[in-house]
C-alpha cells in the first residue's frame, strides 16, 4: 500500500482541475439557456438582439450576424483601436494607464458595432429594465455577437461598479479575439476575469483568426462569412453541398488560421506587440468533454495545439456546431464520460489524463504530450502568484519588528533633549551605533519593498492584488510614512542632491510612487469627517523634508541674490512653502517632530521670518515701481 502514499508537498498541486471545472460548467443550465437565446438572436438576422428573463437571471443575447463595414472598405483603418478614443468614459475603470503599458485596444470593427448598439435606445432601455428586475445578468452572443457581448458586459460592469457589486456573466460562443494584452490585464486588475467565458470548440477556426485587412478582403473569407451568416439565420436549411468554397479555398483558410495562431502563440507576456490577447476563461469543448483554462499564455498554446489536431474539412461546420456541443456536454455531465483505460495511480497524472481525454486528444500521442505540458504550465502560473501572496504575508510579519525599531527611534528622538526630531538626528548622525543600526533596518526594509515591487513587475503577484491584498497596501503606506523621511535624510546627507539634483524631481525611488498610486486607488470604504485633534504621529506628506531641503537652498540663495527678478521668484517660492507648511499644521497633518525646537524646519522658519522683513524693502527698492 505504501507505494500509493500521497506525495508530500502542497496538496493543491495534487489534482489537475481544468476538467472538473469543465464538468461543473457543463452541468449548469447556463450554457444551454445562453445558447438557446443566441440562436434565437441569430435567427432574427443582422444586428439583432434578444432580451429575456429566465427565473431570477436576465439574459441579453447578440446575433452572430453583424455588419462590419469599417473593416470591409476602409483600408486606412487599423485593426486595433484604443478603447477610450470615443468611449465617453464608458470604460473609465479599464482605460487607466500604468507605467510602461500599451493603451487598452480593442478590435475596431467590434467597437464600431458596440457604439452602434449604444446609440440604440431600445437595447439600453431593455437592459435597464432587466437590471431593475434581476440581480444577475448574462450577456451572450455567438461568433462576432459574442465579441459585442464582451464589450457590452465591460460597459455594464464599469457602469455598475460604482453602484453595487454586479453579477454579470458574459458567455461567447466561438467568438474571435477582442483586444490586446493591456485589456486582458486591466480586466484581471478589476477582478472581472471570472465574469468572462469563451466557449471554443477545439476545431473552430474563427476564435483563432485575427480579423484584419489581410483576411477580410479575401474572397475566401467573404464566401465563408456569407455562408455562415446564412446558416446562422436559418440553421435548419444548412446545406453543406451548396457551399461555394473549393477544397483549396478551405485549405487556404485553414492554413491562414494556423499561421495566425502560431504567430500569436509565440508572442510572450509584456511584449509591446500590438496583437490580440485572450481574456477571461476559455472553455475548450470537444465531443469528449470540456476543460476550463484561464491563463492567457496556456490558452494561446492550447488554441494552437488543438488547431493542429484539426483539418481543413472542419473549417466550415465547426463554427456552427455550438448548439450540438452544449447539448451533448450537458448530457455527458450526468453519466460516466469515457472509456477509462489504463490510468496512472497518481492523482495528478490521472486527473491530467482526464483533462486530455476531455479535449479528445488521447489518441494523438504527440499533441497529447504538448497539451499536457500546457496544462502543467497553466497550473504553475496560477499557483505562483497565489503562493507568493501567501509568503508575502508571512515575510511581512517577519519584517514588522524592523519597522517597529524605527518607530521607536523616532519616539526616542522626539523625547530627546536635543529636540530636533528623527529626520535631523538621522541626517546629522555621527558614528553612533544606534543610528547605524537604524540605517541597517532602513536598508532591510528597502530591500523587502523593492522585492515586492519587482514581483509585481514580473507578474509574480496576483494581478488583482490591489484589491485582494489590501493589507499589503496598508503596510506599504505605513512604511512610506515612516521611512521615506529617512531616505530623504540619507539622500541629502550623502550629497546626492549635488550630483543628481533635488530629491523630489530626481531622487525619489520608484517604489514610493507606486505605493502612492496604490494608496490613492484603494477603495475607501468610509471617510471620517472629523478633524484631527492632535498632530499625527507621522507626517502625511512624506516628501515634506525634501521640500524643507529645497526651501533651505532658496533661503541661502536669497541672502546672496541681488537680481530683483530672482529675488521676487525666490521670495514667492519661500512664501508658498511657508503657507503650505502652515496649512499642514492647521490640519494637524504633520507630526510633532517637524515642529521640534531644533528641527531644520523650525530653524528655517525662524530664519526666514527674520529675513522677510529685511528682504521685502530690498525688493521694493530694486523694482522699478
Amino acid at each position: 500500500m505504501a507505494r500509493r502514499c500521497c506525495k508530500s508537498g502542497h496538496w493543491k498541486e495534487r489534482f489537475e482541475t481544468s476538467a472538473m471545472m469543465g464538468t461543473f460548467l457543463a452541468s449548469t443550465p447556463l450554457l444551454k439557456e445562453a445558447w438557446r437565446l443566441c440562436s434565437a438572436a441569430n435567427a432574427m438576422g443582422c444586428g439583432a438582439f434578444v432580451v429575456e428573463q429566465v427565473g431570477g437571471v436576465g439574459y441579453v443575447a447578440f446575433s452572430g450576424v453583424q455588419e462590419m463595414p469599417v473593416l470591409g472598405w476602409d483600408p486606412s483603418c487599423t485593426m486595433l483601436a484604443p478603447l477610450d478614443a470615443a468611449g465617453h468614459g464608458l470604460f473609465a475603470a479599464l482605460t487607466r494607464r500604468y507605467e510602461g503599458e500599451e493603451p487598452v485596444m480593442v478590435h475596431s470593427g467590434v467597437l464600431h458595432r458596440f457604439h452602434h448598439y449604444q446609440s440604440r435606445n431600445d437595447l439600453q432601455s431593455q437592459i435597464d429594465s432587466l437590471l431593475d428586475k434581476t440581480k444577475s445578468i448574462v450577456i451572450t452572443g455567438h461568433s462576432i455577437g459574442g465579441s459585442v457581448a464582451f464589450l457590452t458586459a465591460l460597459s455594464v460592469l464599469s457602469f455598475l461598479k460604482s453602484i453595487f457589486p454586479p453579477s454579470v456573466l458574459c458567455i461567447g460562443f466561438g467568438s474571435p479575439f477582442l483586444g490586446n494584452e493591456s485589456l486582458s490585464r486591466a480586466i484581471l486588475r478589476e477582478r472581472w476575469a471570472s465574469n468572462f467565458c469563451n466557449v471554443v470548440a477545439t476545431h473552430d477556426i474563427l476564435p483563432r483568426l485575427s480579423l484584419d485587412q489581410s483576411l477580410v478582403q479575401t474572397p475566401h473569407w467573404k464566401a465563408l462569412i456569407r455562408f455562415w451568416y446564412t446558416s446562422m439565420m436559418s440553421p435548419n436549411s444548412m446545406n453543406l453541398t451548396d457551399f461555394p468554397l473549393t477544397e483549396e479555398d478551405k485549405a487556404w483558410l485553414f492554413s491562414f488560421a494556423v499561421a495566425n495562431m502560431e504567430r500569436l502563440a509565440q508572442v510572450g507576456e509584456g511584449s509591446r506587440w500590438r496583437s490580440f490577447w485572450p481574456l477571461g476563461n476559455y472553455l475548450f469543448c470537444s465531443e469528449e468533454g470540456m476543460i476550463c483554462l484561464d491563463n492567457a499564455i496556456s490558452v494561446k498554446k492550447m488554441m494552437h495545439l488543438m488547431l493542429r489536431t484539426s483539418s481543413p474539412s472542419c473549417v466550415i461546420e465547426e463554427h456552427l456546431k455550438y448548439g450540438w456541443y452544449v447539448e451533448r456536454l450537458s448530457l455527458q455531465s450526468l453519466g460516466r464520460r469515457f472509456k477509462e483505460g489504463h490510468l496512472s495511480e497518481s492523482s495528478y497524472e490521472a486527473s491530467l489524463s482526464m483533462a486530455l481525454n476531455s479535449l479528445g486528444t488521447s489518441q494523438q500521442v504527440l499533441i497529447a504530450l504538448m497539451a499536457k505540458d500546457c496544462l502543467k504550465m497553466a497550473r504553475q502560473k496560477e499557483r505562483h502568484p497565489n503562493l507568493n501572496a501567501a509568503y508575502l504575508a508571512i515575510k511581512l510579519s517577519k519584517i514588522a519588528p524592523y519597522r517597529a525599531e524605527i518607530e521607536w527611534y523616532k519616539a526616542c528622538c522626539d523625547n530627546s533633549d536635543k529636540q530636533r526630531g528623527y529626520y535631523d538626528s538621522f541626517k546629522q548622525r555621527g558614528a553612533s551605533k544606534r543610528e547605524s543600526h537604524i540605517n541597517k533596518n532602513r536598508i532591510i526594509l528597502k530591500a523587502f519593498w523593492d522585492g515586492v515591487v519587482s514581483m509585481m513587475d514580473r507578474n509574480e503577484l496576483p494581478l488583482n492584488f490591489h484589491k485582494s491584498l489590501e493589507w499589503v497596501i496598508e503596510e506599504s503606506q505605513l512604511y512610506k510614512l515612516l521611512v521615506e523621511p529617512l531616505d530623504i535624510a540619507e539622500y541629502y546627507r550623502s550629497g546626492m542632491h549635488l550630483k543628481k539634483g533635488h530629491y523630489i524631481s530626481n531622487g525619489r525611488e520608484r517604489r514610493y510612487e507606486i505605493f502612492n498610486q496604490w494608496w490613492t486607488e484603494r477603495v475607501v470604504i468610509e471617510k471620517l469627517g472629523n478633524r484631527r485633534t492632535r498632530y499625527t504621529s507621522l507626517t502625511q506628506d512624506t516628501c515634506f523634508w525634501a521640500r524643507v531641503e529645497e526651501a533651505k537652498e532658496w533661503l541661502d540663495k536669497i541672502k546672496s541674490e541681488s537680481d530683483p527678478n530672482n529675488l521676487v521668484f525666490l521670495r514667492d517660492r519661500l512664501n508658498e512653502f511657508e503657507a503650505y507648511a502652515m496649512k499642514l499644521f492647521d490640519g494637524k497633518e504633520a507630526s510633532a517632530d517637524v515642529l521640534a525646537k531644533n528641527s531644520s524646519f523650525s530653524l528655517w522658519l525662524k530664519e526666514w521670518r527674520a529675513l522677510k522683513s529685511q528682504i521685502y524693502p530690498l525688493i521694493e527698492l530694486a523694482l522699478p515701481d
Binding site: M21, S167, D294, R336, E382
Partner: protein, 617 residues
Amino acid sequence: MDIDTGSCGRELGIKDEVIKKACSISIRAHQAPAEKPFLVDKIRGSPSQVVIAFSGAWTSDAWSTRDGTAKAFGETEVNLNSFPSLRSIGNDITAKVNEASMNQFLQIMEKSALRSEMDKATRDSKPIIFAGHSSGGPIAIYATIWLLEEYKRLKKTLTHGPFCLTFGSPLTTDRIFCHAVRREEWSDRFVHFVMIHDIVPRILLAPLSSTKEFLEQSLPYLISPSAHHKADSIDKSKLTALFDNVMRNASCVASHAACILMGSTNMLLDTMTKFVQLSPYRPCGQYVFCTGTGRLVVVKNPDAVFQLLFYSLQLVSESESQQKAVASLPAHLAYEDGLDKNLDMRNAIHLENLCELPLSSDNTMDIATKTIVDTLNDLNLSARARLCLRAAGESEKQKEDNQKKIERKMGMIRNALDDLEGYRTMCETRGMGYFDAFKVQKHEDDFKANVKRLELAGIWDEIIEMLKRDELPDKYEAEKSWVKLGTEFRQLVEPLDVANYYRHLKNEDTGPYMTKGRPRRYKYTQRWREHAEQLPRGSCGESCFWADVEELNLAVTSNQPRNEQMALNVANKLKEWHAKGEVKKDAFLKETALVTWWKTLPDNHGAKLCIKDLIES
C-alpha cells in the same frame, strides 16, 4: 488500509438488532395517525434502550415555500437560543436547515409528549435512539441535537447519550451544521442508511419548485403502506424527468464541491454561484451506503459522502436513465427488507484512507486491496468519482497537517507571552500599569514589548486566516489547549493593541477601536472562550475594556456629554473581572487611564462608587 469486514453495528457502536428494530419502527411510524407524530418502543438489554421513531410529513403546508420570497431550497437559519452550538464560532456563521422540517420538529416539541418521553428515558439512564425513515429522518436529527444540547448545557456525560438512525432521509442540514456537529464530537452519534439507488436522500439537492409536485403528491402515498399504492402506479416519464432533474442538480453541486476539494482557485466558481442555484445541504454524521450487492459501506468523511451521493447513482449510459429512475422508488421503500438481509450477511466495510483509494480496477494483488476494489465497483464508482473521494481525503489530511503545523508554533507563542508577562511585572515595579506604559513608549522595554506584540500578531493572524478559509479541522476551535492559549493571549496582548491604536490616534482616522479597529484575532479568541464556557455572547470583554476607557476619556477631554450607560457598564464589569482575577490590579494603579477617567466622575456617580474600593486600595 484498515479492512474490517463484519458486523455493521459493531463498526458503528450499535447492535445490529437495534438497527433492525429502529428501521421497522420507523417504517411503521408512517402508518400512525396524524395526531401521533412518533412511536416509542423499548429494546431490552443492559442498559435497555428506548427507540423514538418519527414519521414526518411531506404534506404541502409543511414543505412548500411560504411565499415568493422564500429560498429556493427552503433553508433557514436555526434558532441559536434552542441550538446554541449550531454555528461556526470564530467566523460567526449560523447553521441552516430546511425550514419546513424544522418547523415540524418544533411543533412536535411544543404539542406532543416528546419532551416527557425524553425526560423519562434520561431519568432512567436509558439511551434514546431517535429514528426516522424518509421525511422522519430530519426530525430524528433535530431531536437528537436538541437532547445533545441539553446534555451539554447540564454538563452531563454522554455515556447514556442519544443516538440517531435514519433510513433514506433527505439532506436537510448545511455545511455549518455538519461543521458544528463534528466540532462538538457528536458526529458518530448519527448514522444514516442510504440505499444507493434511492432517489430521496438526493432530492433536496434540486430546488423545491422542481420537486414539489412529486414530494407532495406521489411520495406520501408510497411511504404509507396503508394506502396500498405501488411504486409502479407512478407515471414513468414523470419519474424519469424528476430523476434527471435531481441528478442534474446533484451533478452540478457535487462537481462544484469537487473543484474546491481539488484546490481549484478559479474565481469563476464564485461567480457561478450567483447564477446557478446550488443546494446548501450537506451530509452530517456517518453514512452507511447499501449497495445492490448486499454490501454495507461505512463512510465518515462528509465531503466523501457528498460526492458518493451523486456518483453512486451516476448513470453508466444514457439509455439507463429510465431504468434507474424507475428503480429509485422501490429502493426508497426497501430499507426494512434490505437491511435485514444486508446486516445478516455481515459484509460491512469501512471506507477509510481515502487518499489511497485505488483508481483503476485491474491488476489487484492482495486480498485487502481486492475488497476495496470490489467495494468501489459495487458503489458504481468511475475513476473520476474515485479521484473526488481522494480529494476529499486529501483535504481532510491537509487540515490535520495544518493543525500540526500551527501546533509547532505553540512554544513560540508561549515564550512571547512569558516575555510580555515579565514586561507587565516590570511596569508594575515602575509603578505604572502596562497599558499606560506601553502607550507612552518611553523605555526600551516598551519597544521590545511592541516587537513581541507584532510577532504574536503575525502567528495568530495566520491561524485566523486559515479558519476563514476553512483550512483547519472542524474540532480545532473547541480544542481546550487552543481556547486556553487564545484566552491568555487575548487577555495579555489586547491591551497593548488598544494602547497602540490610541497612541497613534487611529481612532481619528478610522473610528473607535471596538467598532472599527479591533483585529479579528481577538474577536475570534473571545468567541472561542464564550463558546467553551457557555457564556453569553460578548460577555468576555475583559481584554478590551481599555478601549472603552479611552473613549470615555476622549469624551471628557472634548467636553462631550458623558455616556452614563457605558460608564456604569465598564465599572460593573471591571469589578466582576477583578473578582475573577481576569483584570489584574495594575489597572487600578494611580496614574492609569482608568483612574484618570474615574477621577473625572462626580462623587455620587454610580460608576465612581462601584470601583472605589479597588482604586483606593
